[in-house]
Amino acid sequence: MVGQISSIPWLSLLTFSPLLGVLILLLIPKERVFAIRTIGIVTTFISLIIAVVIYAGYDASKQGNTLLEKFDWISIPLNLDVAKGIQSWTLDIPYHLALDGLSLPLVVMTTIVAAMSALASVSIRKRQKTYFILLLLLEVGMLGVFMARDLFLFFAFFEWTLVPTFFLIGIWGLANRERAANHFLLYNGLGSALMFVAFAILVATAGFDQITDTSGAVKFVYSGDLYTIVNHLQSSGAAANLGHSPFFLSEGWRMGTFVLLLIAFGIKLPLFPFHTWMLKVHAEAPTPVVMLHSGVLLKMGAYGLIQFGMVLLPQQLADWATVLAVLGIINILYGAILAFVQTEFRLVLAYSSISHMGFVLFGIAAMNEIGLQGAVMQMVSHGFISALFFLLVGSLSERTGTTRLDELGGLAKRIPFISALLLIAGLASLGLPGLSGFPAELFSLLGLYGNLPWAATIGAFGVILSAVYVLRGVLAITFGPIAAHHQQLKDARLVEAVPAIVLTACIVLIGLFPSLVTAPVEYGVSHIIDMFKVGG
């Protein structure tokens, strides 16, 4: 892991830039809604600008983390093994942020979606001050998740995102908001808990490290540092566990840890049997929050599976590649079929998300470069597409008061702009060449053809099914007879049009130039792929 520590802490600046907005917002009286909105939106754009600057300066040819920040944050003395006379034994939780090719596209996507979500938040009609504070706090957590390189720091950010999201769903959601917030909290809390146990096992075994400082004193640590743990897990035999280690992380333990991580991230992803909470959130949460939730928060699961599951335990992942592929097939087909029968458009999109996340699993199960590129591509692409979709859904329901397919129709005549963008989002979602969904799903499938051709073949049906359900949904809204009371609808206002156009532009841009995402990812994943080559 080569990294460089730059003189300006770009990553911390980026991660905590929303806090600046939070501080200013705290000082503004809650009646001054316009000022609150402006500050909230401007802050997300500041983060966006920082992210773009980082992206522009990113030198893909330097492998690994081109940006890295590491400070000692918490070093808890453990007082273990005093009997052996060891003086210093600590549990280290370094503040360790880094940006590699895997994180970079996701970070940029996060800032874009967050900024668009903040723009869309103009539709929020009550308690704007609290709303924007929570939205910004959520952005801190999301950015931190994608950059943390310490297991416990990652956990802290991951868990942190639960709290603002709980508030955002529970206060500003639709009628059943509290139930949705509870479901969200409990399912995700369960995921975090399992993740925590897995991390604790890893830290207490492979995290053991012996550091000789400059004065020659030997220091023993349990470190949560990702790279320390990776190195220890990769080296074999006694070196991996240094003799002092409390217990050897046997194959069985590794498998158990992997399964814990798979379930933990699977709940977030969401993986098939753990997906019910996500439907409720999609149905009940306010539009800007669903944009963030579907666009970014779900990606944290897939990202965690790659950055932690795959990097830490490649052998176990390789053993379970078939299982992952099968889970992917289930997600793709289950999501697609259920999306087809829904009459509520929000649920069509929710099930479509489940289906599309299946392709991420495919990319991971492929265990090769093109597959992983496809997985990351799909995460970014789906992030933009679903954000755009839900932005438009929000505009629709604001105008018509419903998002049920049987109550809508013929809107293309009245609100052509919204309808056209809805169609573009639909086409991107079903994988039309030239839009971002196409390269993403193509790469994932191509990757999987490399090692599990049968799974990829079955999964490819998902692409066809997606065309069916997306067109069914979108066409039902835009064409056909229009209800009488929908004749007077007005098309998008500027504040709605801007985020929609930006998101569409991102979708087209990635569709036309997939290398915008794949170039950094290529270098970001090469070390992961190398592990599979070495480990067999």
Binding site: I74, I76, L162, N182, P246
Partner: protein, 526 residues
């Protein structure tokens, strides 16, 4: 031992007892003042006197700790000071816990001030000065090196608590709670005494260290009796710490007692009894039954069984506490049930078998840290509850409805407390749990770590129930005024909960310099 040589108390040793003596003298003086003071003078002054004496006592404890800290940093061996025929130990274990008990008592006095009307609390003077012997009992329990001292401390705390629970004389619930607590508490005390009698019978001594030596020598002969004595002790002490399955009394008593007393029971009384469990496990049962297993590894069969039983009780407490709390609508009962689950969490560091493949000697640090986190969080939550219930007139969860609109800062403070109770990052509760769980994993007890994590997740449901009420529901309107003493307690608690969460390093480093199990619990007078 045939003859007991009674060691008279030396002058120099008196200074080591300064914290306790302060409380004794203050309790006697204040009770006399209360007796002689004319009726027309409001007894709220007694509260201030009590608070002052607790703070004095705290000052003595902290300054002793500070001295010991400088000595420890300077590399001097700081052993335990044993007084009164080795029956009273002044060591870091005791001193550190005394800090918590005294801080807890000071908070309890502060949140009581001005909070209760005269017809609610007819004997205000007694109310305040009885907290002093109660705190003293807790301190004796932490310091005891002898079964007798230990029992005297326990009873001092228990009996004063029975009275304090029943202080709201005109409230049926308070009287009922006091009665229940007194009857069941006495039964528990009887169990403890019975268990102690076995220990004495086997070893012929009441001194903890002598008992341990004697049991180690004669372990083969007494094996069944050792188990019997442990079981009797743990039944009695399990009652005192409100661990499942000995928890049934706590919701009733917590609900009936005046709210500050509930906080006292939840934090000081529970903490002191846990200190006793800690002492007994580490001084009596630690490393008992040493033998070699088939592979030639050294195992400690009795100690191992004892730790497993403790962890079983811990796990049961977590499960019972959290599941029962799910449907609870009364905040005091809810916090009582949360206290049962937290007793489970606190038993984990005590119940880890640290003589396995690793010697994990940081269990006390984990215990102390979590107890401190629990203290600030719980007392803070009780203080908010008092403010809220005074305005809405009841102690149900729905009283918190719309609190955010009525008093945003109070709602934010309560949010910090419930997030800490739920163990969400950057709060004290998060690092407390993290530390315990890492210890559990390092000691190979993964299962208890999993139980801890799962019950914490379930507890999200009712802890976030406060947040649902405060931010998402509509309740009564109107501003809420907070009494200055209560407000200051809430502010201090918020600061500590966040401070412990953001800078655990400093606290941990300080604890680690001061305390080590072999250097502290097992050493004799230097």
């Amino acid at each position: 031992m045939d003859t007991i040589t009674v060691q008279p108390l030396q002058w120099s040793e008196l200074s080591a007892l300064a914290p306790e003596l302060t409380l004794v003298i203050a309790a006697v003086l204040i009770s006399l003042i209360d007796l002689l003071l004319p009726k027309r003078i409001h007894r709220e002054w007694i509260g201030i006197l009590s608070l002052a004496s607790v703070l004095f006592s705290l000052y003595f404890v902290v300054s002793t700790l500070a001295d010991r800290y400088t000595q420890a940093v300077g590399g001097e061996a700081v052993g335990a000071l044993q007084l009164l025929n080795q029956s009273y130990r002044v060591d870091d274990f005791a001193l550190l816990l005394k800090v918590l008990f005294l801080v807890g008592t000071a908070f309890v006095i502060l949140i009581s001030m001005g909070s209760m009307k005269d017809d609610e609390l007819p004997h205000r003077g007694e109310y305040y000065y009885l907290l002093l012997p109660a705190a003293l009992g807790g301190m004796m329990m932490a310091s005891s090196g002898d079964l007798i001292t230990l029992y005297v401390g326990l009873e001092l705390l228990s009996i004063t608590s029975y009275i304090l629970v029943g202080m709201k004389k005109n409230d049926r619930r308070s009287t009922e709670g006091a009665f229940k607590y007194a009857v069941l508490g006495s039964v528990a005390s009887a169990f403890i005494l019975y268990g102690m009698s076995f220990l004495y019978g086997m070893s012929g001594s009441t001194n903890l260290i002598d008992i341990a030596q004697s049991l180690t020598t004669h372990v083969a002969a007494f094996q069944p009796l050792i188990y019997v004595s442990f079981l009797l002790l743990i039944v009695g002490l399990g009652f005192k710490i409100a661990a499942a399955p000995f928890h049934a009394w706590s919701p009733d008593v917590y609900q009936g007692a005046p709210t500050p007393i509930t906080a006292f029971l939840a934090v000081v009384a529970k903490g002191a009894s846990l200190a006793v469990v800690f002492r007994i496990i580490f001084n009596v049962f630690f490393g008992l039954g040493a033998e070699s297993d088939t592979e030639g590894q050294r195992v400690f069969s009795i100690y191992n069984d004892v730790t497993i039983m403790l962890l079983a009780i811990a796990a049961l407490s977590m499960v019972v506490g959290t599941t029962m709390a799910l449907r609870q609508k009364n905040v005091k009962r809810l916090l009582a049930l949360s206290g049962i689950a937290n007793a489970g969490y606190l038993l984990v560091p005590i119940g880890l078998n640290i003589l396995g493949n690793t010697i994990n000697a940081s269990v006390f640090n984990a215990f102390w840290y979590y107890l401190a986190a629990y203290l600030f969080t719980t007392i803070g939550a009780f203080a908010v509850l008092m403010v809220v219930s005074r305005v809405v007139g009841h102690e149900e969860l729905k009283g918190f409805a719309g609190l955010y609109h009525r008093s945003p800062w109070l709602a934010v403070a309560m949010t910090v407390f419930v997030l800490s109770l739920a163990g969400i990052p950057i709060t004290a509760g998060f690092f407390g749990k993290l530390y315990i769980i890492v210890g559990a994993v390092a000691a190979h007890s993964i299962w208890i770590a999993i139980v801890m994590m799962l019950t914490s997740v379930i507890s999200f449901y009712f802890y976030f129930g406060f947040i649902r009420q405060m931010y998402m529901r509509h309740g009564q309107e109107g501003k809420i005024t907070v009494l200055a003493p209560q407000g200051s307690v809430i502010a201090i608690c918020v600061l500590f909960v966040l401070g412990f969460g953001l800078f655990p390093n400093e606290v941990m480093g300080w604890l680690n310099t001061l305390f080590s199990i072999p250097g502290d619990l097992f050493t004799l007078t230097p």
